[in-house]
């Protein structure tokens, strides 16, 4: 792997930048691997990296039906935080935040993790109760999260409109200072480059078309558009397409795939210092290093694999943004796009073994998977390597839906009465 540094940039720059080499090899499938990861997003590439780095499995491949990082990894609003309510969630997401903090150095790839603070707004008494519950639970779990008055919130985020005269005034906020954003594409590329350096094959334009099982029903090969590949372990990280891939192995999951849209404004000079989220009026916003305001909201109402949604979602998202930040009303939307998010009934992910021996799944991240990329990839790799979950992902099974041990982050933010 060519080491990246200011020095290497200058050295190679002085010689016309001719000596840069591909950041990862363009691999073709071998006949067999010790493990295969299906899905070349951040979660899948990360899992391959950790399998090679921490578990010594280097004869492995990531197969991706399109181009790596082209799914939700490259289509999200890049928010990173770990201020989740339940102990299980906080442990998982905070594991991730801790990995984010060193990821650029570990991968020798600047993923631009920017802990600029994530602020979640309260607009009514019920919001205050819910967010304070988060603040207390997080603090006791060792996750930073603090309560701010409306005035303190404005001090932290000057564009915020805290006028009591708006329809749903800001009454306060919960702030996680360690939260922030990162450069999404760089996460996929950084993991790909680092995994490749450890010998992992990254195979693009290779779609799974079926699974081959042995007499005991265990995985023995994957059928792909680029031929049959033998392997005894398959980890699926296919986000919105997980149901489709697992369906090929006869496994059904409690998942539904919805369109999630996001948008950016035209780039402007720094005007927005942090990430602000409002669950009550449905919008979130930050500013990218390039200067674009990055804005998202909820999903469209119906399941879909089209990677697009309706105009009314955008109008609703932007009316919320304009209400909270009325100076942005004259800003212009530059680009809108859609992803496919796989949603579980309790809005928490599944990182687990499946009923098929040798088949593992990491899915159900809904609208919030990017933030979990390193942590989820890390424990998923553990699960695949050892055929048993890491203590952090042990609660995130498929069986929890049968047994009723839900980790219901959505219900925990129940609507007001």
């Amino acid at each position: 792997m060519q080491r990246f540094s200011a020095f290497s940039i200058i050295r190679r720059g002085l010689t016309g930048n001719e000596s840069w080499r591909p950041q990862w090899r363009r691999a073709s499938p071998k006949a067999s691997y010790d493990a295969i990861i299906v899905g070349g997003g951040g979660h899948g590439l990360g899992a391959a990296y950790y399998l090679a780095k921490e578990h010594g499995l280097t004869n492995i491949a990531v197969i991706e039906k399109g181009w790596i990082g082209g799914g939700n990894t490259g289509r999200n609003t890049t928010i990173i935080r770990s201020n989740y309510l339940f102990d299980e969630s906080a442990a998982l997401y905070d594991h991730s935040v801790k990995l984010w903090e060193d990821l650029s150095q570990v991968l020798n790839y600047n993923v631009m993790f920017s802990p600029r603070g994530v602020m979640m707004l309260a607009h009514n008494v019920h919001d205050i109760q819910v967010l304070k519950r988060h603040v207390h639970a997080n603090r006791c779990n060792g996750v930073d999260n603090e309560w701010l008055s409306a005035e303190q919130a404005k001090e932290f985020c000057p564009p915020l409109n805290i006028s009591p005269d708006i329809r749903y005034p800001v009454l306060g906020a919960a702030l996680q200072r360690r939260g922030g954003t990162a450069r999404h594409d760089a996460v996929a590329w950084g993991y790909a480059r680092a995994a490749d350096a450890l010998g992992v094959d990254i195979i693009e334009n290779c779609e799974v078309t079926g699974f081959q099982k042995d007499a005991h029903g265990a995985i023995e090969a994957v059928q792909t558009t680029r031929g049959l590949i033998r392997t005894k372990k398959v980890g699926v990280s296919a986000a919105g397409n997980t149901s489709v891939v697992l369906g090929l192995a006869g496994v059904s999951l409690p998942l539904e795939s919805f369109p999630l849209q996001a948008l950016v404004s035209e780039p402007i000079k720094p005007a927005f210092p942090c990430v602000v989220m409002s669950n009550t009026i449905h919008a979130y916003i930050s500013q990218s290093d390039k200067g674009e305001l990055v804005i998202g909201a909820g999903t469209d109402a119906y399941t879909s694999y089209t990677q697009r949604g309706g105009l009314h979602i955008n109008t609703h998202t932007l009316d919320a943004i304009c209400e909270l930040f009325p100076m942005f009303r004259r800003m212009q939307m530059l680009r809108n796009w859609g992803g496919i998010v796989d949603v579980t009934p309790d809005r928490s992910p599944i990182i687990a073994k499946t009923p098929v021996p040798g088949l593992y799944v990491n899915c159900g991240w809904g609208t919030g998977g990017f933030k979990a990329t390193p942590g989820s990839a890390n424990v998923f790799a553990w699960t695949i390597a050892r055929d048993e979950p890491h203590p952090i992902n042990a609660p995130f099974t498929i069986e929890r839906f049968r047994d009723g041990f839900l980790i219901d982050e959505a219900a925990a933010a129940a609507v007001a009465h």
């Binding site: 059904s252 998942l255 539904e256 795939s257 109402a301 399941t303 049968r402 047994d403």
Partner: protein
Amino acid sequence: MLLIQCPYCGPRPELEFAYGGQAHIARPLKPADLNDDEWAAFLYMRVNTKGVHAERWRHARGCNRFFNALRDTTTDHFLAVYKTGEARPALNTAGGHS
């Protein structure tokens, strides 16, 4: 915003409707007879089809009636709408959209 054919009211914009999820999941007549796996399958397992999906809609801001639709989730085109209780219609291969 989708344009949805309510079988009772005709074509109306999506804003008038509430999505009702996968269709044809009948509540077991005697839930007590189901084991935990079977009950969990009823509660949570969804086909999440990439392709023609049978799903429920309610004309919430109209006649308030539930009905079923076949929609291709790779194009969002509706292929058929039919009333609750009716069998899922067979599609001709041509499909077509509303």
